[in-house]
Amino acid sequence: MSYRTLFLAVAVAVVLIGTARAADEPKHPNWKGQWNAVVTPGLVGQQFKFDPTKDRGLGQQAPLTEEYKKVHADSMADQAQGGLGNYPTARCLPGGMPRMMASEAQEYIVTPETTYILLSSANDALRRIFTDGRDWPKDIEPTYQGYSIGRWSDTDGDGTYDLLEVETRGFKGPRAYDATGLPLAFDNQSVFKERFHLDKADPNILHVEITVIDHALTRPWTVDKTFRHNRNARPNWRENVCNEGNANIVIGNENYLLRADGVLMPAKKGQKPPDLRYFEQGPK
């Protein structure tokens, strides 16, 4: 074998080995940058709802059980009177899943072991989706965001993963889908199954298909949330702080409002003031 032929053979071998390695281990996708929630104009609730293609609240047509339809109706009735209803986010508690996935700006950091989702919400800033092949922990410490395990797939076989399938369990509450107090079951046994992928026709659109299985529902409920890639390579990342300027003051089971002058006022018509029995002095 001549030197030239040997050289060619080595070169071909290198290329083949490289190709084989790429086929064995698909690359993780580049989903860098800022993704902004796609909002359908004219619908109530902007992006802060579960199904982005419908109005929030009753307009969502959530398949609630009779029991949880009443929870929702009671929530809206309380809110009509000035209360917070079944919406803990108004008290600056985290929204948790799935409310957190309605945040207006998201960032995806994909590593082989974990996919991180950074969110622009005030109290829901981060999700970790473990993709390192781990099993469910024996004792999951319940959280608002839950414990997420994911698996990447290369569905079109081009050597790059293009689909992230995620299951999330291990919740605590209270949690609601939207500001009307559309409820998740109080037992916090929700299971979420998500499919993250870029749109085949438009790679600047990210789909997050979410299916929720929950005891407040008569059947699994699936929506397709979409996010558009921000063309600005160095976008602004807002710092949202719920407690800044939140006028809701919850004392016991009652919500009151704090006026701009710093004085408490009723949130509901005819609302009784807070019980001040532990004060030696009378009210100002």
């Binding site: 070169a11 072991e113 109290n123 781990r134 608002y144 407690n243 003051i249 016991g252 100002k284």
Partner: protein
């Protein structure tokens, strides 16, 4: 002859493409290999239990006055007023007690931290009301009109200090803050003008790979000189199974109405935080008290 010549050109072209492919691959791999891989895992602040447990700026000294912060006389008074108010049950100059973000530098005292390093940005993920820091390492300059934040705007630069071909030091400068912010729970103040500048040198200890240093220098108008502290973090786990979720608003008993702080009892009733504290003004309520 013509045919042989063609074969030579094809072989040369093939070799060139192959070499280019290999060179590109090697360059990309080399670039990626420059970033440290030994910062993974869950880090918590080293606590010197004999001197401080409250998350002070200088971990080696007690919090509050024990920090011996080089405060100007004006801000020494702010600090002493804060501690006097707290002694009476008030919150003093400590906004974190109202569940506002702590911002820099207090946010760096919270536990369970994770570094996620990409060539463009190093993310510091925190488990507190101060959720995360983005340290931009893409060579950008300071933005023209940044919106002030509690965490500030951070630009970093990776350095291969020992010349082994891999970055081992992250130098960071952080500016453009909003407030109020305090160094610790005693209300040890940063200047109210929020013009602080932080310079950090973050690296793994040479002798102990499970210790991370964040040597932080604060330049602030509340201080008579730059104040530096070597803040240290211990790696709890290389591959943690769970990350805790901490939310200040859960179970926070402080209820701030106007300029007064009150306590919320377990039974949901309001009580004074200070001796002989006047209750909240109820002039906008038409009904009598419960």
């Amino acid at each position: 002859m013509r045919n042989r010549c063609s074969r030579k050109w094809v072989a040369a072209a093939f070799c060139a493409v192959t070499m280019t492919t290999m060179a590109n691959g090697a360059a990309t791999a080399a670039d990626e290999d420059k970033y440290p891989t030994n910062w993974k895992g869950q880090w918590i602040r080293v606590v010197h239990r004999d001197v401080e447990v409250q998350g002070a700026f200088d971990q080696t000294k007690p919090w509050g006055l024990g920090q011996q912060a080089p405060l100007t006389p004006e801000y020494q008074k702010v600090h002493s007023d804060s501690m006097a108010d707290q002694k009476n049950g008030g919150l003093g100059n400590y906004p974190t007690a109202r569940c506002l973000p702590s911002g820099m530098p207090r946010m760096m005292t919270f536990s369970n931290q994770e570094y996620v390093i990409t060539p463009e940005t190093t993310y510091l993920l925190l488990t507190s009301s101060d959720h995360l820091r983005r340290i931009f390492t893409d060579g950008r300059d300071w933005p023209k009109n940044p919106k002030p934040t509690y965490g500030g705007y951070s630009i970093g630069k990776w350095i291969d200090e020992d010349g082994d071909g891999r970055y081992d030091l992250l130098e960071v400068e952080t500016r453009y803050f909003k407030g109020p912010r305090a160094f610790d729970a005693s209300g040890l103040p940063l200047a109210f003008d929020n013009q602080s500048i932080f310079k950090e040198r973050i690296y793994i200890d040479k002798a102990n790979p499970n210790i991370l240093h964040d040597v932080t220098t604060v330049i602030d108008n509340a201080l008579t000189r730059p104040w530096t502290s070597d803040r240290q973090y211990r790696r709890l786990s290389q591959k943690p199974e769970q990350w805790p979720e901490n939310y200040c608003q859960e179970g926070n008993a402080n209820v701030v109405i106007g300029k007064e702080n009150y306590f919320l009892r377990v039974d949901g009733l309001l009580m004074p935080a200070k001796k002989n504290q006047t209750p909240p003004d109820l002039k906008y309520f038409t009904q009598g008290q419960k």
